[in-house]
């Protein structure tokens, strides 16, 4: 357990270092677990932002590897390129055929660079739509989409090739996908870049993941006039799973052990698998037209406004 400690885990790190010096002192281990629980019982929103971004947090690739068998990756948007920042494919989940979409974040620096830290290009969103159509129309299979991105790629190339158009098209066309879609926010749900593969019948969120219209840093810099106000911004933005559940934007929080998914990969992945299984069983029973109507109504009713 040589995990990178996060800023709010200072006390934990101290105990950990003591444990390394005195590996036989079992009370230290006990103290470590107690402190871990204490810290994780009173996390601030920005702490959760840091957990959600932890480089060792399991990513789409990990879920695919652990939860799906016979996975076949499908490439390309049939128009311009194959964006590695979004992985798409088909495989079996608990014996049932499913399509999979997900942001790819990479496990080490080389991978992270090759997938642009999960910031997708227009061709990534176009690929996702193409594959979702293929899976639903030809394989009649449900789709599972893993959200984990800081946001869409903010570059000249992405703008030139229509990142806004690609995301907009997905937001619309995913309402026409005629099989169930389950969306799981597993890390960073970064704005339009996340939502671009985020339309679905059920939106699930890991306990220590976030979903926000803008990063706390961006918000702090624009609205607070001070980039150092990220913690306040994180609080104001209501970006945690708990906040989003309270706002009725998501359907379900998936439990994550104290200490976070990066410390407890297997357990977290199992929790995600269980949640997927439960929701899939429910969704496949719903007649197609009802499903599409409900999906639409789900999003149409999102909004808080005064009517006077």
């Amino acid at each position: 357990m040589n995990t990178k400690f996060l800023p709010f885990e200072k006390d934990l790190e101290k105990i950990y270092l003591a444990m390394e010096r005195n590996p036989k002192d079992l009370s230290l281990k006990e103290s470590f677990n107690k402190t871990l629980k204490e810290i994780y019982s009173k996390l601030e929103p920005f702490d959760i932002v840091e957990i959600a971004r932890h480089p060792e947090r399991p990513h789409s690739e990990d879920y695919i590897q652990s939860l799906f068998t016979d996975f076949v990756e499908i490439h390309g948007d049939r128009c311009f390129g194959d964006d590695p920042s979004i992985i798409t494919g088909i495989g079996k989940f608990n014996g049932k055929v499913v399509g999979v979409l997900g942001h790819r974040k990479g496990q080490n620096l080389k991978e992270q660079l090759s997938v642009n830290f999960g910031m997708a290009n227009p061709e990534g969103y176009r690929k996702a739509l193409r594959v979702a159509k293929l899976i639903s129309e030809k394989f009649k299979a449900p789709i599972i989409s893993f959200l984990d991105t800081p946001g869409a790629n903010p570059t000249e190339g992405a703008e030139e090739r229509g990142i806004a158009s690609a995301i907009a098209t997905n937001l619309m066309e995913f309402f026409n996908i005629r099989t169930p879609i389950i969306v799981v926010v597993i890390g960073e749900g970064g704005s339009g870049g996340a939502l671009g593969i985020g339309i679905g019948d059920r939106i699930l969120m890991l306990k220590y993941s976030i979903y926000s219209v803008i990063s706390p840093e961006g918000c702090a810099s624009i609205l607070f006039g001070n980039a150092s106000k990220s913690k306040e911004a994180a609080k104001s933005l209501k970006l945690t799973a708990q906040d989003l559940k309270a706002l009725n934007v998501i359907d379900e929080i998936i439990e994550e052990p104290y200490g976070g998914a990066h410390r407890f990969k297997e357990e977290t992945i199992k929790n995600v698998g269980d949640a997927l299984e439960k929701n899939l069983i429910e969704l496949v029973k719903i007649p197609t037209e009802t499903l599409l109507h409900m999906r639409k109504e789900k999003f149409l009713k999102m909004g808080v406004y005064r009517e006077e």
């Binding site: 000249e156 992405a158 990142i163 806004a164 158009s165 937001l171 309402f175 219209v213 906040d243 639409k296």
Partner: protein, 270 residues
């Protein structure tokens, strides 16, 4: 179209305005008559939502709809000041209650459903009130068999409404999907500026997308892109003309010709 405009060099007064394009001083009254387009360089000054409606619709034909839908504060958001205080104050001072005006009117005699974003209300940003008003307009257009025209001018999402703002992108895309499935024509007009969540949802979903000449249009703002890529951007980056050459808008139109071009399209409808 070109008008005679006196240019003074000494003093700017309220009656004179400096062009953001060519920096010449323009006589305000005449600028207004020219639909706020500089007669020297063609610079399109920003319009208020009310001016836009005036320029686009037949005189007196506009009937506002869904005015009763107003911004709220879903997150109890506080930055330097509480968001609620901000929206209350705008309202108290006689301003809008949301960043869009929705309604119905005629364009050279043809009935249309029209939504016009108000950049002057918190940068035309996409909040839940806009989401709801535009959604209702879309279904109103379906029920009343009207072409739908939306004029965008927006900095993007309403940050103060957080995830609720983001979800308006999905909500509006769902509504427009229903509209399109009904086989009806949606014309999206992009004006300066159109960015972020607005661009990445309803603004880019027009059956026909018209951009006003030289309007800046994009997803990420130029500053964010320059910070990320550490490269200087091309001069025409994210202009209407740039989007045209990259295939994302159907046509770029000068403001003076906008009503006429839209009329042609509407007259083509069966």
């Amino acid at each position: 179209m070109k008008k005679i405009v006196k240019v003074i060099t000494k003093n700017e007064s309220k009656e004179w305005i400096r062009c953001n394009g060519c920096k010449k001083l323009l006589y305000y009254e005449e600028l207004i008559e020219n639909k706020k387009v500089c007669p020297y360089c063609g610079y399109h000054f920003r319009l208020t939502a009310k001016e836009r409606i005036e320029y686009l619709l037949d005189n007196g034909s506009f009937k506002e709809l869904f005015r009763n839908i107003k911004s709220d504060d879903p997150l109890n958001f506080v930055d330097k000041e509480p968001y609620r205080a901000k929206i209350d104050e705008i309202e108290k001072n006689g301003g809008y209650s949301s960043s869009i005006i929705t309604g119905e009117g005629t364009i050279n005699g043809i009935n249309v459903a029209l939504g016009v974003l108000a950049f002057e209300y918190i940068g035309g940003s996409l909040g839940a009130a806009m989401g709801e008003k535009l959604t209702r307009l879309v279904y109103y257009a379906i029920e009343n068999n009207l072409p739908l025209i939306v004029v965008s001018a927006s900095g993007g999402a309403r940050m103060q409404e957080g995830i609720i703002s983001l979800m308006q992108m999905a909500k509006l895309s769902a509504a427009i999907n229903d509209y399109k499935k009904n086989g009806k024509l949606y014309i999206s007009i992009l004006t300066n500026p159109t960015y972020g969540g607005t661009t990445a949802s309803f603004a880019m979903l027009g059956d026909i997308i018209i951009a006003e000449s030289k309007a800046m249009i994009g997803f990420a703002g130029p500053r964010v892109i320059e910070q990320t890529t550490k490269k200087k951007l091309k001069e025409d980056f994210q202009t209407a003309e740039f989007l045209l050459s990259h295939g994302f808008v159907d046509m770029v139109v000068e403001r003076q010709n906008l009503k006429q071009e839209i009329t042609k399209l509407l007259e083509f409808l069966p």
